[in-house]
Amino acid sequence: MSRRVVTFIILFTLWCIFSGMFDAFHLSLGVISCLIVTLISGDLIFKNKKVTAEHVREGINFIKYIPWLLYQILLANIHLAYLVLHPKMPIEPSVIQYKSKLKKDISKVVFANSIILTPGTITMDITENNEFIVHCISQKVADDLYTGEMEERVAHVFNEDIKRSE
C-alpha cells in the first residue's frame, strides 16, 4: 500500500481514540483534519514509497524487544540509585568509542536511544564512519557495552546480519 494511505489510517485511528465522540459531524471533522495532515506531511513517517510486510514484521519484533529494554532500564535505575545514594559517589567517568556495524538509519537511532536508557551510558555523537562516542559513568558499564548483546538484539529487530569477527 502507498505510504500516504497507511499514514491516513494510523491518524484516523488516533482520532477515534482521542475524540471519543462517534457522531457524523465529529467523524467528518476527523476525516478533513487527517486529510490535511496527510497532504502536508504524509511522506514523513515511512521513508520508503510502499509499505510492505517487512514494516509489519519490524513492528512486531520491536514490540517483542520492549520488555527486555524495560528490564534493562530498571537495572539502570537501580544502579544509578546506588551511585547517587552512596555517600562517596563511586563514579569514574570516561569517554569511549564503540564501532558499530549497523547500517540502516532507524536501527542506529534505536540503538543510540537504547544506549541512553540503559545503565550509565549516554550517546554523545555518531560520526560518519559509524562510531558511537559514548560517555560512561564507570568502567563496569563500558565492559557491559563491549559485549555487544544489545547490538545483536537491535540487529535482529531490523533484520540485519552483523558478524562480529572477534
Binding site: L14, M21, H26, V37, S41, V109, A112, D125, I126, T127
Partner: protein, 151 residues
C-alpha cells in the same frame, strides 16, 4: 567530530513526531468547544510543528513543504473567515458575530448552529495565529532578509 547542523537521531525522531504534532494541533482546534483549547492554542501547536521542522532540518527543507507565499496568504485567509462570518450575521439582521441567527441559512436548530459558528471562528483564529507565528519566526531567523538563514 563536530558537525553543527545535522544530527541523525534528532532528524529521525522528529520525522516521526511532526505528523503526530500537527494531528494533535488540529484535534485541539476542532474540539475547542468541548474540551480546553481552541483556536489560539491549536494554532500555536501547529506553528510549533513547523518550527520543529526548521530546528531538525533546515530552512529550505521547510520551505519546500510550506512555502512563504502560502504562509502570507494564510495570514489574510484567517482574518477573512473571521470577518466573513461576522458580516453574514449583520446581513441576516443581527449584531456582529451573533451567530445564533445563522439558522436561517443553515439546516440545523439554533443551539447546534451556535456551536458551528464557534467552530468557524476558531478555525479562522487558528489559521491566522499559525501563519503569524511562523512568519515572526522566519523574520527572526533570517534577520528579515528572507534568504537562506542560519538557525
Amino acid at each position: 567530530m563536530i558537525r553543527l547542523y545535522d544530527d541523525l537521531i534528532i532528524q529521525v525522531v522528529c520525522r516521526i513526531m511532526i505528523p503526530l504534532i500537527q494531528f494533535f494541533a488540529l484535534y485541539v482546534i476542532a474540539h475547542g468547544h468541548y474540551s480546553p483549547g481552541g483556536g489560539f492554542q491549536g494554532g500555536c501547536i501547529l506553528a510549533a510543528s513547523f518550527i520543529l521542522m526548521v530546528i531538525a532540518y533546515d530552512l529550505d527543507w521547510m520551505k519546500k513543504r510550506f512555502s512563504e507565499i502560502k504562509n502570507t496568504f494564510m495570514v489574510a485567509l484567517g482574518i477573512f473567515i473571521y470577518a466573513l462570518i461576522g458580516l453574514i450575521c449583520i446581513l441576516l439582521g443581527a449584531e456582529y458575530l451573533n451567530y445564533g441567527i445563522l439558522h436561517k441559512i443553515l439546516p440545523a436548530d439554533p443551539i447546534k448552529v451556535r456551536a458551528l459558528g464557534t467552530l468557524g471562528i476558531e478555525i479562522g483564529v487558528g489559521i491566522t495565529v499559525m501563519a503569524v507565528m511562523v512568519s515572526i519566526f522566519l523574520n527572526l531567523t533570517t534577520y528579515g532578509r528572507h534568504e537562506k538563514g542560519e538557525v
